[in-house]
Symmetry: C2
Subunit: 262 residues, 2 copies
DNA sequence: GGCGTAGTGTGCGTTGGCGCACATAACAGC
DNA sequence: GCTGTTATGTGCGCCAACGCACACTACGCC
């Protein structure tokens, strides 16, 4: 719990337990990446960047860390440099589904920009450990109000987010569990350095909003066909082209949308 | 096809045929509603409103009218005063699902604001005939850039839209066809004057991303239980409280979110 | 190096929604 | 009123995903 982490903002004092194996902190080295590893920050003009830079504080985010719960007031926005961040909509009975997945192409904390006062309506967690730079809400807003290129970038990213969520809708609605799973793996892979994803099938199931056993079966099929290999909590992609063959169109659409951002 | 209508912007010259029975134009009287019947416009401060007012052109929108297709450049944003507007994400094979439903609380044409250059990634159609005021893209952008309260309202609405789509995700994922259907009816009803919705089961099925027969069955059950009555293309809600009993939590969540906007 | 827990495998029966193929009925236009 | 079209009703078989129950096993920890 070093001061490096963004303040945890939980609604209830009895938030679901989240595990932070000590090893994780060893595995992930101190952030070697500059803020410009984040595509948004990288594209901010120098004049604007110089105003922001002093306020960018590096944070290390271990896998499973809850960035924020529902109905909290955000104090910071996060600009990831590596790792993956997942936004989940959770229902009363605990059922959930991810509606967005963000890496170093975006930011977490949209509701700050959009006049929501930073009040969240969803849960955000660290899907894959990584690093980010956090920016105080007031500094973010101040720069956003100035209306330079920074604002353009943030709005443009918000639009991409809307499109991503809309695509998730049809994907969840019309495609099979296996296709959802393939899309999720490829999207994750695009935001990770290697070809391995560290995540339990249970968590994947929560992310996709399906049964854990369903993930087991799909993963089993894909392993049998030699596309992936997995062991407790780790998926290794062996044959990415074959995976792209098997995924639904949604992956391609989202990837194209993402490329437009650059 | 009076000049009153917003210019139709189709990608292909062979867009799917849309029917406009002449009667529809008779049923819907000439727009008696002022621009301020739209909640966004109603809340703009006078000084800003006076800049916009000269550019607001009334349009009449018949049921089924395609506001825009995918991949077109929007020339106008629409501020509805009545009627319902539905945004659909369509896939290659034609399968679709609505990801948002907008009445006089919002606007259609978000992508103009968000730096997308008004290039759409979805289809928008008129679900229930109504009226709107259209605003030229350049005027909209100009006022948006000024950064007054108008911009705040537009951003706030965009956030509500994001939350709406996210809620749709879990609703589609975890709730039954019948619950989706009930939610859709209640949301539509909230945006309509009477207690009748004019829409065929075929179109409802496209909106919800399910089979037409599934809608027939669900509607049959609800009619048998006395909650609704329907005839070719018309649903009348007879027992709204019972419907609210039967709908999933999503309706309540969305309604609450919407009330925050006011 | 054993122990316990968290993660995974498997096998049911159940079911909601799909796809297809028609039958039937309501309404619009003449 | 007649007629053609468009909307709705119904009955299949089928299958993906569910819910539950209970193995099994890998790995982290002491």
């Amino acid at each position: 719990m070093s001061a490096n982490f963004p303040e945890v903002q939980t609604q209830s004092p009895h938030a679901p337990a989240v595990h932070f194996p000590n090893t994780l902190r060893h595995k992930s080295r101190p952030a070697p990446l500059p803020p410009t590893a984040n595509h948004l920050l990288a594209n901010v003009p120098v004049a604007e960047y110089q105003r922001l830079a002093p306020h960018l504080e590096p944070v290390t985010l271990p896998s499973g860390w809850p960035i924020h719960e529902v109905s909290v007031n955000l104090k910071y926005a996060l600009f990831p440099t590596d790792g993956i961040f997942s936004r989940l909509h959770v229902m009363e009975d605990g059922a959930s589904a991810a509606f967005a997945l963000t890496g170093n192409e975006g930011l977490v904390g949209i509701s700050l920009l959009m006049g929501g006062g930073g009040v969240t309506t969803s849960r955000a967690i660290v899907q894959s450990a990584g690093h980010a730079y956090r920016l105080r809400a007031d500094i973010l807003m101040q720069e956003f109000q100035r209306g330079g290129h920074f604002r353009y970038l943030l709005l443009r990213h918000s639009l991409a987010l809307i499109n991503q969520i809309a695509q998730f809708i049809v994907c969840y609605r019309h495609h099979s569990l296996e296709q959802n799973f393939c899309r999720w793996m490829l999207m994750s892979l695009d935001r990770l350095p290697g070809n391995e994803i560290a995540m339990t099938q249970e968590l994947i199931a929560n992310t996709l909003g399906v049964r854990r056993e369903g993930v087991t079966e799909a993963a089993g099929r894909l392993q049998r066909d030699g596309l992936i290999h997995y062991r407790r909590g780790h998926i290794t992609i062996l044959n990415r082209p074959a995976l792209e063959q098997r995924v639904c169109e949604c992956y391609g659409v989202l990837k194209k949308e993402y490329s437009h951002l650059l």
